[in-house]
């Protein structure tokens, strides 16, 4: 109770302060752009006196963003030759992408990269795709025709003050093209040594003020190789997806969009399975199994200006997915409503307030090995974000606060303060934030039987029951960042960010050894999901992009990460798995260098080199990867690409085995792809 009172006191202190700041700042400048209405009301003489910025609104926002942001454009994706969304993320600085087998990816930002990575908020067009079951992403199920992705926006570092929980180490937002930007009939087809067949078809057209697009895609991917490199493994993937998008310019100031997708995926896996999890009989079998993932979603969004400086945004979505793996069998439905009001240039500030309500219905088909309750949970949140701009917009301070509560937590606050000094050609920024990683479904209801080792002397067979009994609390994370960006010329950009992150209460498994005598007698010990580690991570990220000539672009990045975790408060040597997993999967360094060259108008050449390593433990020391692409455009609308991937290795393991699947070797691979656009 005292805690709640304290929280309310904090809010009561904070809100009047923010309002006071607003009122006191009335004479200050908010360097806003003229709106189209402003410009249309001017006469020609006035127009001739308006100063312009050569940056697009997006570039301007980018230069003035007080955070480590990066945008992977549609053209970056096309020219890199990647065939999946996680592979495209390798193009960004600070992201660690690794592939355990042909269909399982791990993506992490600033550490804790793992299949169970739980510190990222990943969205498609504003719809979160991380699940609240284990706070991670089933990357195998996240697909979209790559040609229809407008860009992928990545925020490294905390975004909790706006986006809320899970946006601890970063936010990835995959943004698809508006229907108006993909008009005509586009057909893509390709085949390769591992990408054994893929294609998609999309049709976009307009009717009055409504633009629409329909698409369907299908892909098959071959499995990897066994450890000895002689056998094909069963980790293939076959996927189908269909969808639509509709954008309606209801009026000059009201935009409505409606989009939806449905997918069906089958993949194979080689992993362990315990058919009979009882004391005396528990044994791990190694089996090939077939996984199925399916889902559908529909999202509607409205944006409207209700006054010249007040705009409203509302979004409703429904999402349903079904996962059927050997271990986890779940159906989850999400109903979500989001509402935001933006006041621009009010009291010379930009203020945004918003709220979000989500309900999730989760149904588990339990197996003897893995059990979770069927239930309905919810998340509710409110946020306020206030931006002050001074000195012709050169100096900005942004304060934000998000209050969030889910079914397992009380109200959690996530404040952040950011400041930036910038103009069109350079920026220096700093930020301090506090975010939370809130407990998930598994930490509140899991019972996962596993075979015991160590304390149980063979030939006796004992069990470890991994248990989520609700003892896990929110993990609190403080982050500090400083960064700079520079545009030495109109067509070049250099960015540098340094960060320090302090984690309190990192989740891990913990075996209660105090009941050793009882455990030995029953043959069962309990392993709890709870907060048992404190950690620190620091490092820096640097990236550049130079359009040296019209026909030559160079880009690249370097990331350095240093992490230290200590077991706290219980120092019994049991809480080592997260630390080990970090050592296996978070490299100290990673870099990427890319080149795009257009020798003639009809010919494109691209090369991208990626490196990550060294890893501090495990059998994988590091990975080199070289991808090359030649693109030919023989006639208008037609593009033919030849792509070679992983050219520096004939075959290699990119990651270790994990608790879900065994790793397989990834092979050197080639494919050919043709795209034809008829308008």
């Amino acid at each position: 109770m005292k805690r709640i009172v304290l929280r309310w006191m904090r809010i009561r202190v904070l809100l009047p302060l923010m309002v006071a700041v607003g009122i006191s700042a009335i004479p200050a400048v908010s360097a806003e752009r003229y709106s189209a209405d402003d410009l249309l009301s001017m006469d020609l003489e006035q127009l001739a006196n308006v100063k312009v910025t050569t940056l697009s609104k997006r570039e301007e926002r980018y230069m003035a963003t007080a955070g480590a942001v990066f945008v992977i454009t549609s053209d970056d994706i096309r020219r890199s030759g990647v065939r999946s969304i996680p592979d495209a993320l390798r193009l960004a600085p600070g992201l660690q992408v690794s592939q355990t087998n042909a269909n399982q990816f791990q993506v992490g930002i600033r550490g804790q990269t793992d299949f169970w990575t739980d510190l990222l908020l990943v969205m498609v067009d504003g719809r979160p795709i991380y699940n609240t079951t284990f706070s991670g992403v089933w990357w195998v199920a996240q697909n979209y025709p790559l040609e229809e992705i407008a860009r992928i926006e990545i925020v490294r570092g905390p975004g909790g003050a706006i986006w809320g929980s899970n946006a601890v180490n970063g936010v990835i937002n995959i943004i698809t093209k508006k229907a108006g930007a993909s008009q005509g009939l586009r057909i893509t087809a390709g085949e390769g040594t591992e990408e054994t067949g893929f294609g998609n078809i999309s049709y976009g057209a307009s009717s009055g003020d409504v633009d629409y697009r329909l698409y369907a895609m299908r892909e098959t991917r071959d499995g990897g190789l066994s450890g000895n490199g002689l056998n094909d493994m069963p980790d293939f993937r076959r996927m189908k997806q269909q969808g639509f998008r509709l954008d309606w310019n209801a009026s000059a100031s009201t935009k409505v969009s409606l989009h939806g997708d449905a997918y069906q995926i089958h993949s194979g896996q080689y992993g362990t399975w315990m058919p009979n999890p009882t004391v005396g009989n528990a044994s791990n079998a190694q089996i090939n199994s077939l996984n199925a993932f399916s889902g559908k979603n529909i999202v509607s969004r409205v944006e409207t200006d209700i006054a010249s400086n007040v705009s409203l945004k509302g979004q409703l979505f429904y999402d349903q997915y079904k996962v059927h793996t050997q271990i986890i069998r779940e159906k989850k439905e999400t109903f979500d409503g989001e509402f935001q009001v933006d006041f621009s240039d009010i009291l010379n500030q930009n203020i945004s307030v918003g709220t979000n309500v989500r309900r999730l219905r989760s149904h588990f088909n339990n197996t003897p090995q893995f059990q979770m309750p069927t239930r309905t949970t919810g998340i509710t949140s409110f946020f306020i974000n206030d931006e002050l701009a001074l000195f012709d917009g050169m100096f900005r301070i942004i304060g934000g606060l998000k209050l969030e509560k889910n079914s397992y937590t009380t109200w959690e606050s996530q404040p952040s303060i950011r400041t930036i000094v910038s103009n069109d050609n350079w920026a220096v920024w700093a930020s301090a934030s506090r975010t939370v990683r809130t407990p998930n479904d598994m930490e509140n209801g899991l019972s996962w039987n596993r075979k015991a080792s160590g304390w149980c002397t063979p030939p006796r067979v004992c069990l470890v029951k991994q248990t989520g009994d609700g003892r896990a609390k929110s993990e609190h994370v403080k982050s500090y960042e400083v960064g700079a960006r520079l545009r030495p010329t109109e067509k070049s950009l250099i960015e540098l960010t340094a960060f320090k992150t302090i984690y309190k209460g990192v989740l891990d498994t913990w075996q209660d050894k105090s009941n050793l005598a009882t455990n030995a007698a029953t043959g069962i010990t309990y392993e709890y999901l709870t907060n048992v580690l404190n950690g620190k991570g620091d490092g820096f990220e640097a990236n550049f992009r130079v359009e040296a000539f019209d026909e030559l672009t160079l880009k690249g990045s370097y990331t350095y990460l240093h992490q230290v975790y200590v077991d706290y408060p219980v120092k019994d040597g049991e809480t080592k798995w997260t630390v080990l997993s970090n050592k296996f999967q978070d490299p100290r360094s990673r870099f990427h260098v890319g080149l795009s060259w257009d020798p003639t108008k009809m010919l494109e050449f691209d090369a991208n080199v990626y490196f990550n390593g060294p890893f501090r433990d495990g059998s994988v020391n590091g990975n080199h990867r070289l991808d090359m692409r030649v693109g030919i455009k023989p006639i208008e609308g037609l593009e033919i690409s030849f792509v070679a991937q992983d050219m520096m290795n004939l075959k290699h393991f990119e990651n270790e085995n994990n608790s879900m699947q065994y790793a397989t070797q990834q092979q050197q691979r080639w494919y050919m792809r043709a795209t034809y656009l008829y308008k």
């Binding site: 805690r3 304290l6 904090r10 202190v13 904070l14 302060l17 006071a20 700041v21 006191s24 700042a25 009335i26 004479p27 200050a28 400048v29 908010s30 360097a31 752009r33 003229y34 189209a36 209405d37 402003d38 410009l39 249309l40 001017m42 020609l44 003489e45 127009l47 001739a48 006196n49 308006v50 100063k51 312009v52 910025t53 050569t54 940056l55 697009s56 609104k57 301007e60 930007a181 003020d209 310019n249 000059a252 240039d345 010379n348 002050l388 001074l390 000195f391 012709d392 301070i397 304060g399 606060l401 606050s413 404040p415 303060i417 301090a432 506090r434 609190h476 403080k478 309190k504 308008k679």
Partner: protein
């Protein structure tokens, strides 16, 4: 844990308070006004104004409306699309399309050529010779090389250049109000 939360709150409140105090003394010394625009926003508004101050030689535009084709310039196309939906533009019967190469000439009353259409513009102008199509572009030297109106970026502002010969040859009449604010090339005596 509570100590951590309170510290954090104190830091945030402290920063906001510092901001509050720092704004008071300097507040009155700086003016509150907007002073710049996105280059594409301004280009689109210029295009709209060029159309407003121009009379077409044929009566077709009165009957069919004015069709604006935009080549190689998505930003300006997006802005124009928004402008033509506004009440101020409704009476002019405007429509706008994004187009590619030769298709740009068809059914066009105004052709806007973006800078990346630099390679094709001379050929397009040749094909348009004698047609009542108002050609506008931000390609440097566009007006000197036969285009009708060139939007020019100079000293962080936008100005424009009108090629009078090209305008008259196509039978357009451009209001003096517009001409007196722009730079003129191709006068009769030049």
């Amino acid at each position: 844990m509570r100590l951590f939360l309170n510290n954090n709150c104190r830091i945030l409140c402290g920063c906001l308070l510092a901001l509050l105090l720092s704004l008071h003394p300097i507040g009155s010394s700086i003016a509150a006004e907007k002073n710049r625009a996105g280059i594409s926003d301004l280009k689109a508004v210029y295009v709209f104004n060029f159309i407003r101050f121009t009379e077409w030689p044929t009566s077709d535009v009165h009957r069919k409306g004015i069709s604006i084709n935009v080549l190689s310039e998505e930003d300006v196309y997006d802005r124009l699309k928004n402008i033509i939906a506004k009440p101020v533009a409704k009476g002019l019967g405007l429509s706008v399309q994004s187009c590619e190469q030769d298709r740009c000439i068809r059914n066009s009353s105004v052709l806007y050529i973006g800078e990346s259409g630099r390679q094709d513009f001379k050929q397009l102008l040749k094909q348009l010779e004698g047609e009542a199509v108002l050609t506008i572009s931000d390609i440097p030297g566009f007006a000197e090389q036969g285009g009708m109106v060139e939007i020019k970026y100079h000293n962080k502002k936008l100005t424009f250049v009108v090629n009078l010969q090209a305008v008259k040859r196509a039978g357009f009449y451009i209001s003096a109000q517009l001409l007196q604010l722009g730079e003129i090339v191709g006068r009769d005596n030049e």
